[in-house]
Amino acid sequence: MIFVGSFGSGKTEIAINYSIYCRKSYAKVAIVDLDIVNPYFRTREAKDTLNFKDIKVIAPEGEMAYADLPLISPEIKGLIQNPDYCLILDVGGDDVGAVVLGNFRYFIKDLDYEMLLVVNSYRPFTQSAPQIKQMAQEIENTSRLKIKAIVSNPNLSSQTDEETIKKGHILIKQAAQKLEVPVKFICIDDRFSKKIRQENFKEPIFYIKRFMHLPWN
């Protein structure tokens, strides 16, 4: 499972949540922090929580965990080829972040992989169907892998309300149609889990718990 998308679309939070979800059905789950774009708010910050849930986290270690260097662990190649593992790749934002994915293309392309494009229609550069299409094409061109489906993630962080989600999701569905790919699921913050139920949406709802916190929360 590969999560790609524009910078700040929510890939990391979704990838973390998804790895926890996968651990329910797979004995061996690993998540790879392939983010060479962001200096803060990366998967590695949730490492202890994930390790506690018996999920392997591959990310730069020690003082290098705090660096902004394009560090890629040699372990990743082995994990990609290991059929025992359910592997989740959290890729850095935009086509720039997807460059690193192109590096592994040779090992990924013949596997049964699923590359998902995470879209938040409230982020700059993915606010309309044509913009989302352009982003998708740029990422496909750089990674030389195919996007299989869209993950709809319409939100304004703490200012999200039901209207935000509904409106954004409609736009994202239009973009998916244009790209001729399905919407795999819609992400909704779990604080809405009682208010927003499955019957409101055709696509499955994936409730998200936030792992990246600000120092005043």
């Binding site: 962001n38 803060y40 606010q127 304004l156 120092p215």
Partner: protein
């Protein structure tokens, strides 16, 4: 009204600058500020009559701003701590030449190359001049992404109004975090006409000069006095701050930027324990809100200054308090952010 967007602090500055009419950006990437340079590249390169240059160095970038500002356009550069140090000569020249421009510093842990995590240890550099000679920047310190938008737009207005460089002093966290923002319609304000001094080609008119010197020491002294006059006016008219719960407070926290946000959570936690805390959050770091601090020190006798430094703004607080209250300090440095519980423990120490 325009729709809200979810933006990173760095992107929000870029969008705010463009909407404030800044179509000339000269930058050099550095973590944790690079998204601003990237955003300007994405946007300005598609705009007619706009200029984006990724300069060969920070020094080059600030001097390009100097040149662009001489023509009267709104120009900006940005960096993070080590890069801002490199710009200091140019900033001093711009201040001496009395040109408006905006400089963004998303501070990181220092000194030296330091770390890429957030810091606030460039307070002295930002507020006391930074480069050589007697000058100040107008320094604005936002504490949310929305305030980054509003203050970036204000910074251009203030720079034009006082023909002086203005600085947005943020930190890595505010640059990297994402919050919902809106770009509201702004009230039109009257700004001084730039025509008198801008260099736009001297065909058919007298020559004009913009220079950062005067070889005659008496004339150079006059220029210094003229510039000082602007700082006095700034101190009189442009001071901004936020206060929370100053009445009946047992202790006043003074903090700016993201530390003030942590302080607000600390305040509500303290309240549950029966401790009454007040907050003064300077929004302009120069001019510094000394009056409100002085007034408050007449009523509350304990202050705690919290910074992501070894104690810089605390000196200005002590000057404002002038011995009338006890001023304590708590700081974390090198990229470490003070936690809510650390601050509360510190408060309790002084309220024993």
């Amino acid at each position: 009204m325009e729709e809200k967007m979810l933006m990173k602090g760095n992107e929000a500055i870029g969008e705010a600058a463009i909407r404030a009419g800044c179509h000339f950006y000269f930058g050099y990437p550095i973590t944790p500020q690079s998204e601003l340079t990237a955003y300007m590249a994405k946007k300005l390169l598609k705009m007619k009559d706009a200029v984006f240059v990724q300069a060969e160095s920070e020094i080059a970038a600030i001097n390009m701003v100097y040149g662009a500002a001489s023509t009267g356009v709104r120009a900006m550069t940005s960096s993070s701590s080590p890069g801002i140090s490199l710009k200091q000569e140019g900033i001093s020249y711009i201040a001496c030449a009395e040109l408006p421009c905006v400089i963004v510093n998303m501070q990181r842990g220092g000194p030296g190359l330091g770390s890429i995590q957030p810091g606030q240890a460039d307070y002295f550099q930002a507020t006391k001049g930074g480069g050589h000679g007697d000058y100040h920047l107008i320094v604005l310190a936002p504490s949310s992404v929305q305030e980054l938008v509003d203050l970036t737009m204000d910074a251009f207005d203030l720079a034009d109004k006082y023909t002086n460089p203005a600085m947005i002093l943020g930190d890595g966290l505010i640059g990297q975090m994402m919050e919902a923002v809106e770009f509201k319609e702004r009230k039109k304000i009257n700004l001084p006409d730039k025509e008198g001094w801008t260099l736009t080609g001297c065909k058919g008119r007298e020559k004009k000069y913009i220079v950062p010197f005067n070889l005659d020491p008496y004339e150079m002294e006059k220029l210094n006095l003229k510039i000082q006059e602007k700082y006095n006016k700034l101190k009189e008219k442009e001071v901004r701050y936020e206060t929370v719960n100053l009445d009946n407070a047992d202790l006043i926290i003074v903090a700016y930027g993201i530390v003030a946000r942590i302080a607000k959570t600390v305040m509500s936690n303290a309240k549950k324990e029966g401790i009454n805390i007040g907050l003064i959050r300077p929004i302009t770091l120069f001019p510094f809100p000394e009056k409100i601090i002085a007034e408050t020190s007449e009523k509350v006798n304990k202050f705690l200054v919290v910074e992501m430094s070894m104690g810089q703004m605390v000196e200005d607080v002590k000057l404002a308090v002038n011995g009338k209250a006890e001023v304590n300090f708590y700081g974390r440095v090198g990229g470490v952010i003070p936690t809510q519980s650390e601050i509360l423990t510190e408060i309790k120490k002084y309220l024993k």
